[in-house]
Amino acid sequence: MMQCPKCHAPMNTYNRNGVQIEQCSGCRGIFLDYGELESLTRLESQWSQQAPPAPPAPQAYPAAPPAAHAPAWGAPQHGGHGGHYGHHRQKGFGRMLFSS
């Protein structure tokens, strides 16, 4: 099993859209083999052609600016403009943001 070059925890292999990715079980950093980033980018551009606005870049690089980061399971409107939220913001929050 591969070891993370950053924190030395074991890395798990998983498959994302047909691309093999190693992710660290400790710091969750991701290792891509040669050509895998290009494969992901290609998949991403196919996805954004199907479904504008653009989905987020895969959360592959922890060094990217953190403020706008969303988790991998985040809603597809992240990174786009408007989306659901602009609409909700005008309407008000709904009760959900005010209850346990």
Partner: protein, 320 residues
């Protein structure tokens, strides 16, 4: 509503009214106003006094420790202090606490919601040494209870499937099945943060304070950030509001996330658990009110479905 509940409302209103002005004064008061009426918290206001009846099965010792916390001078400017210690209540009755009136967040003005203020209050709370005798927080147990409530309300209903799938994809400790990892434990936490837990005091335009210490305890502070994180991830909370919240929390030295870099390794599991909890409670509520999920509730359910496909740390989904 049962007669028991309405008698609680009546008693709380009478109590708050009696305390809101001297007995001899001529009274032109408006009738007491019900702010909340649930089995776990009935809240009635008269004048500048708010009376709250806690759940019947409240742990009295824990409530006393939490009230002492809200009254702790170290938390002045962070938590709204109670007016008095709770009056004694007989066995079976709901314990009652008294609070000064504050001005809540305006639900019709999302642009004015105090995200940054809430974050600074949380950071200051998390940085305060917890007093002895305060119980541990119960983030995973609360999520488990929400899922159980949903399952009981909608037996065999396919609507629960995405929420259950998200639930099963959580690590066992986040479902309350095994002890939580101890790495970020030991912090003073609010335990139930949402926009209903902030008021301006003194009303109407004093500084913002956190209210409701019923879930306050010692634990992992990331769970207090988990709801806003979950709302952001689901697309309910705008990126600029999330950034304002997160940046203010970090600037105030909040310990739940690293000072810079990616906050999601710390927030991921609590945000997933709170997504499932929120969706589960929404479906239970829908069942009780015999309606379909509204648009925002639907976003949380969709988030659960995505959570199910991307397990945390991806360790349960190894390829080849």
């Amino acid at each position: 509503m049962t007669t028991t509940q309405s008698s609680v409302v009546r008693d709380l209103g009478a109590l708050a009214h009696r305390l809101s002005h001297p007995a001899a004064a001529r009274c032109g008061c408006e009738p007491p106003q019900i702010l909340a009426d649930r089995p776990d918290g009935t809240v009635v206001r008269s004048g500048a006094i708010v009376a709250k009846a806690h759940a019947a099965d409240t742990d009295r010792e824990a409530l006393a420790a939490r009230l002492a916390l809200a009254a702790d001078p170290r938390l002045t400017g962070i938590l709204l202090p109670p007016l008095t210690l709770p009056p004694p209540a007989g066995p079976g009755a709901r314990p009652v606490t008294l609070w000064p009136l504050g001005t809540p967040v305006d639900p019709d003005d999302p642009g004015a919601a105090p995200w940054a203020e809430a974050a600074v209050l949380l950071a200051r709370l998390h940085r305060t040494e917890p007093p002895p005798r305060l119980p541990p927080t119960r983030g995973p147990a609360k999520a488990a209870r929400a899922v159980a409530r949903m399952s009981a309300a909608l037996p065999g209903d396919p609507a629960v499937l995405p929420v259950l799938a998200g639930w099963r994809a959580l690590p066992p400790w986040a479902r309350g099945e095994t002890p939580a990892p101890a790495r970020r434990d030991g912090f003073l936490c609010h335990g139930d943060l949402h926009l209903g837990q902030l008021v301006r005091h003194p009303a109407p335009d004093g500084p913002w304070l956190l209210i409701d210490v019923d879930d306050a305890g010692v634990g992992d502070p990331a769970w207090d950030l988990g709801r806003p994180a979950a709302w952001y991830a689901a697309g309910l909370l705008a990126a600029e509001d999330w950034s304002a919240f997160l940046d203010a929390y970090r600037s105030a030295g909040g310990p739940a996330v690293p000072a810079d870099g990616d906050p999601w390794p710390a927030l991921d599991v609590p945000a997933r658990a709170l997504t499932v909890q929120t969706a589960a409670l929404a479906l239970a509520k829908c069942a009780a009110e015999q309606r379909d999920p509204d648009e925002l509730e639907q976003l949380m359910i969709e988030s659960c479905a995505r959570i199910a496909t991307l397990p945390p740390q991806l360790a349960t989904d190894p390829a080849s």
